[in-house]
Amino acid sequence: MKHLTLGRFGKETKREEQTLPTMKVEEEDGRKEAELVRLSQGGDREAFNLLVARYERQVYNLALRMLADSEAAADATQDCFISAFAGIRGFHGGNLRAWLLRIATNACYDQLRSLKRRPIASLDDLLLDPEHPTDFEDPAESPEDYTLRQELGRTIQAGLLTLPAEQRAVLILSDVQGFSYEEIAEITKSSLGTVKSRLSRSRKHLRDYLLGRRELLPKKYRL
């Protein structure tokens, strides 16, 4: 199976292609990140914007899958980074990505409350912009496969919206973005047992949803 998403699956693909020792690069990144955090805590916006550039794609995709609305997702993402900059002095080391995604998750919950989300009325909102193909697009993928994958994304998105917000967040973080149970527990401020339970229930729920709408799935992806 081709892994075409970010997270642990994307990272694994990336690691195979790197020539530098992975650990050294990660250490270097870690040091740079710590320095950027330190500068941001002193009010340096340019340093903080480098962190924004590093994480905005992940944050935006989490928001997009949570809210199924590109405008709401953009608002939530912007709110996330504004809150993060305002509160970065409260970050005392640790996993910056988890810290940012926790803020992003809360921003999404706020958006859901204000939008009073309902089952999606139009799947058109979920169409990918054909002018901006994903980084993980397979060069060997045919246009038909690309279209099928977009259809798949829309149908799955509709299924995600039928989940309660907390289950949706866990499912997106685990199976769409590839985070481990421990990271998800840190992001959602819940126990490992809660993460496992929510993940199990949400996967089963989505599976039942897709089984009930097999005709919506491209033939290639039908369960």
């Binding site: 009010g43 550039a53 995709n61 953009a74 994903t134 977009q150 499912l171 496992k196 996967r203 992806y221």
Partner: protein, 265 residues
């Protein structure tokens, strides 16, 4: 345990099993059950496919950069300034309300004191110190000139009867054609001693003059009035209210501008 219960218990572990998060004992038990249960194998497979589909959901590039704008002033300072302006405006507004309340209370107190033998309460203008000409002469009064309803009095005799006490002092000052007499003619219907022969009588003046109130006041009120500001000037209350109102407006505007800068940044 029935087969159905066994299946249910096994399926509860599918999610963790797929993620390799079961302990060894649990994993063995589950795999043992799968070997003998085609329904559970089918269930597990559909779950794996679902997870596989989720992993194929495409990643979308952000529609724009979410970098924060570089402000000319650190955002924290702007936020602090906003809070300071807001707090100062609130305090100034509270002070303004207090001043207005105090002025109202004082006004009410005065109006209560001036009731009784008086015909009318002192007007607001009187309290502001708008005193008609001739008030200085009123200082010499010691009685209520309106104590007895006075028909149109004659120029001489009625004056003496009305205010015997003040006669000596006033007569010395009140000579026809004197400045005080002129001032009395101008508008003070209470200065009977200054009324020259032929000039409007008390009754006539009372009918034509505005009820200024000062000359109708008690000596105590007169004393208070005379300590007031000169005619047509603002009272301290009014000055304070205008000043505080201006401050509240200015601080409110500054707060609104700061808040807008915070939002823009």
């Amino acid at each position: 345990m029935s087969r159905r219960d066994d299946c249910e218990k096994t399926r509860e572990g599918f999610s963790s099993y797929i993620d390799n998060r079961l302990d060894v004992q649990e994993q063995q038990r589950l795999e043992h059950h799968l070997r003998t249960c085609p329904d559970c194998r089918s269930e597990l497979e559909s779950l794996r496919l679902t997870i596989g589909l989720l992993r194929r959901v495409p990643s979308v590039p952000p529609p724009k950069s979410f970098a924060l704008p570089i402000a000319t002033m650190p955002i924290r300072r702007i936020v602090l300034a906003t809070r300071v302006f807001g707090l100062a405006a609130a305090c100034a507004a509270l002070l303004l309300v207090t001043v207005v309340g105090a002025e109202t209370f004082v006004e009410w107190g005065r109006s209560t004191q001036s009731l009784g033998p008086m015909v009318a309460a002192p007007s607001r203008d009187a309290d502001r110190g708008v005193v008609p000409a001739g008030t200085a002469v009123g200082q010499e009064r010691q009685g209520n000139i309106m104590a007895a309803p006075a028909p149109a009095l004659g120029a001489g005799a009625a004056q003496t009867e009305a205010t015997p006490q003040a006669t000596s002092g006033s007569r010395a000052a009140a000579a026809p054609g004197s400045p005080s007499a002129t001032a009395g003619e101008a508008g003070s219907f209470g200065n009977a001693k200054q009324v020259a022969p032929g000039s409007p009588t008390l009754g006539q003046v009372a009918q034509t003059s505005k009820p200024l109130g000062v000359t109708q006041a008690t000596p105590e009120s007169n004393a208070t009035d005379l300590s007031e500001q000169p005619t047509n000037s603002l009272s301290p209350w009014r000055v304070a209210e205008i000043g505080l109102g201006t401050i509240v407006l200015g601080l409110g505007l500054a707060w609104a501008v700061s808040r807008r800068r915070v939002r823009m940044n």
